[in-house]
Amino acid sequence: MTEINNAAPKRGVPLWVQITIWVSLVVLLAIVGFGLNRAQQGTVQPGDKIPDFTLPLYSGYEYQNQSNVKLSDLRGKVVVLNFWASWCKPCEQEASDLQSTWQTYDSSNQVVFLGADYVDTEPQARIYLQKFGINYANGPDMGTQISQMFRIQGVPETYFIDRDGILRYVKIGPFTSADELKSQIEQLLQ
């Protein structure tokens, strides 16, 4: 009895503070874990349904006279989405092949080429497009929203989306030839 009276009152950290600290730590770890998991996932995978997005287009590079192009509006067509930038040297290797392949399929009205200009400035982008004679639909990836959606690792990267909006093939790096491009498109057109 005496011992109990003499013992100093326990002055620990209040329970609500302890709970707050632990909850904060768990939340922080969850956020870090989510970020790490996302970083290690790589790009979107073939078979994934691509969420809808709208690409604003540079003046002079519109799609059917529209200044924006929406992926969901292109259902029923094969979409070739190419991420590029004017400062990207490997992009130059495939620029002409992309343009010539687009010309091959343009009249068929079954294949749509979209160029998403990644982290670029418009004056330099225009110089690049003129240099390689590109005239299919091209526009800036505003706020890097589309590239983040695809979780691109760099440029160039090209995504082949089928008529139902499902991703079928991803090409990381430049195409070595126009035939390589065409073979992927032909598989999706079958």
Binding site: I21, S24, L28, I31, A85, S86, W87, V119, D120, T121, P123, Q124, P140, M142, G143, T144, Q145, Q148
Partner: protein
């Protein structure tokens, strides 16, 4: 005399022409804005980060993409854009992650709140730990002294009793 008068008139006319020419050139200069200096460009560039080369401020980033961005800032400054307008343009085009200092909104608040909160928590834990470490060490000698005394007394008393018995 006549010659002197004529020379004086010519001198007046020339002076007047020089003043007028000066005014004309001056007004022409005023219409041409001074091109922004590298320091002005870098003052804004160091507040931005290019997403391509992470962790490198734009003002010191050596890549072609960053060089283009700096040129764009120079162009915008020469067109009279303010710092805020330029930063707003970059955020709209490339996302908020280009800002060296993320905007104070949404989840970004965690960046501003959590580090100081953890530092304060650490200081508090350290303070409490130091208190518990110091207390026993200061209390220990006192208690041992008080404990030792009765023991010693008891021993002395026993010793003296033994001596008495022998005597």
């Amino acid at each position: 005399m006549w010659m002197k008068k004529q020379l004086r008139i010519i001198a007046y006319v020339l002076t007047l022409l020089l003043v007028l020419a000066g005014l004309w050139v001056g007004s022409a200069k005023a219409q041409t804005p001074t091109p922004p200096t590298d320091d002005q460009v870098n003052a804004i560039a160091r507040q931005l980060y290019c997403p391509v080369c992470e962790n490198t401020p734009l003002d010191v980033c050596p890549t072609e993409a960053c060089r283009q961005w700096r040129e764009l800032i120079r162009q915008q400054l020469s067109e009279g854009w303010t710092d805020a307008q330029i930063k707003q343009y970059f955020v709209a085009n490339y996302g908020a992650r280009v800002l060296a200092e993320p905007p104070r909104s949404g989840l970004n608040w965690l960046i501003y709140i959590l580090p100081p909160a953890f530092i304060l928590l650490g200081v508090y834990i350290l303070y409490r730990a130091l208190r518990t470490w110091i207390k026993p060490s200061t209390a220990a000698p006192a208690s041992s002294e008080s404990d030792a005394k009765p023991l010693e007394d008891e021993y002395v008393a026993k010793f003296e009793e033994e001596l008495r018995k022998r005597n």
